[in-house]
Symmetry: C2
Subunit: 371 residues, 2 copies
Amino acid sequence: MKLSEIGELPLIETICKRFFKRSKDILVGIGDDAAVIKYHNKNLLMTTDMMVEGIHFDLSFMTPYQLGFKLVSVNVSDIYAMGGAPEYLLLNIAMNKNTEHSFILAFFDGVHVAMKLYGVSLIGGDLSSTKNEMFIAASLTGNTDRPVKRSGAHPGDKIYVTGNLGDSACGLEALKKIKKTVPIENTPSLTLPPRGGGMGGGDNSELQIIISKLSKLCLTWNTVKPLLKRHLMPIARNPKDFVKDATAMIDISDGLFIDLSRLCNESRVGAKLYATHIPISRQMQKVSSVLKIDPFKLAVSGGEDYELLFTASRNSKLETLALASRLGRQNSKLKITCIGEITKKERIVIDKRGKKSDLRAEGYQHFGIKR
Amino acid sequence: MKLSEIGELPLIETICKRFFKRSKDILVGIGDDAAVIKYHNKNLLMTTDMMVEGIHFDLSFMTPYQLGFKLVSVNVSDIYAMGGAPEYLLLNIAMNKNTEHSFILAFFDGVHVAMKLYGVSLIGGDLSSTKNEMFIAASLTGNTDRPVKRSGAHPGDKIYVTGNLGDSACGLEALKKIKKTVPIENTPSLTLPPRGGGMGGGDNSELQIIISKLSKLCLTWNTVKPLLKRHLMPIARNPKDFVKDATAMIDISDGLFIDLSRLCNESRVGAKLYATHIPISRQMQKVSSVLKIDPFKLAVSGGEDYELLFTASRNSKLETLALASRLGRQNSKLKITCIGEITKKERIVIDKRGKKSDLRAEGYQHFGIKR
């Protein structure tokens, strides 16, 4: 039987079952955002995430700078999702020998800027050639006093998400219309001193072409830019403001529904979501309507959000934080929204008319299993 | 300029210079076999190594079981080369969706057997699809009280290697004649309980085909088998018998000359090698002569030896160990040979007639730079 007939999730389940091990040293093994090792009375976190050309990225839509930045971000997101602080980074890079030297320098510019942003140090790696596609992976360590696992949610806990959902997936749809790389890296907080001939920039004429393409779709640059940014250069969400209250946490990489199902499976609980509470940005509403895509579908199963999904008990500080966030009165910039609550078993979504439907684990799966 | 015009080594040098960092926590950063992090008064080792289809392996020559085993071994070899004990493993696996499920199960059989052999635990990983080639990587941690770096060699130190050199490269040449996978995994110490329909085995008829192919070349199975084994399922060398005396160490993955040059560069010293001392197995002599390949070239620049190359001061316990090894009087099974000594600056090889030639950093480099 081929992997395309089995799908990613059952395969992961088989591997987890076979290699699952919890010992006095391995506090969390396979099956969470990161492993947790008791390392001489401290909690060492370890995670790894890869990006494959043609699957995770398309170099006609993405600059090497953006790629380097995103590779670090997606790994940091896993450490943050355990309530940890990222520390040490290893890289694997496999490229075709016809790759331009300037490409790899720009890639490392992106890696470097992300490392500075998150306070991470590069300590090693491996370089190889490939016959075809580019392949990159990173492994990242972190530390935390109290790891927040997927398995800590209890019935009655409220369910929260950071940011807006679906922005990244909608950004990807917009990119498919723009059909070229977009110079969004020159954001003040994200720049390095200029390097001669660097590819980190992108000039104005390039931007003019994109703006004129967008205007034919009746879209403005300011509307599309935040979505592109969330897709091309996501910034991982640091949970420091609420981590103390989180009972369970996961980062949304494959889509809200699939990742919430994972959290529920590990916690052996159910969930009740309110569709109208799911945070969707004004920009995503606008762009998805122009592109004739259901914004709700993008928000719940689009994938690559890299937002944090977490639970906290009723009456925690989180309720005040989420309220402040809704009223725009929050000091920190991170938006937090309560989207439902943990149930004993039932897994449902309630729509705006109060109608219930099943919460199904829909989202991205490798090996193209039918959904 | 393309990477093929630059080559792997200058590229690595650029990256090392840019990201090199030594702090009170990072004892060894980029540029050794593994990084060393001071982690709450202990030394945490971290390394990563990848294997790309079409570059590092060819699935018409290698079973998935062998591949899984080798991936773990090459990473363990890096931890051993720092004088460490391997601990926790992360895996990245990217495969085509048309891969057979039995293939991935057999791959994990090989991983599992290697994990048991080295006492390693799998704690996480990442799975992806690919459009074409398979790509696998592992990251591995370890620990050691005293890391043995590449940079500790001093003029006057003796230079040692474990095992024989060139067996793996010669095994690969033999494989190119056999032109198919070879069932060598059924070695008593390396088996798991049989799994229904497992691919770990290989039946007798398959072996008969190979034996008959070899006999046409006037070669026997017993002569070729150890070379194939060293190439397909290398066992990493544990330096426990001599690690206390080692002043510098590296594992030979790209070839003796290139890896000795790395050690010399880091230690800022030279080396004098005696060509006649370089350990070449009887089997490799025989097979290389039949295949009309220079055995010396295979031994010094063949690559993928996964033997340890290390230095120790004169009058260390190593001299006795190496002598015992030469006389076949050593209790441990690991062969150790003194092949030369560290000099202040001069880097030369002395041939059997006493003629000197330059020691050149020849060996495998990615991106196909001319040598």
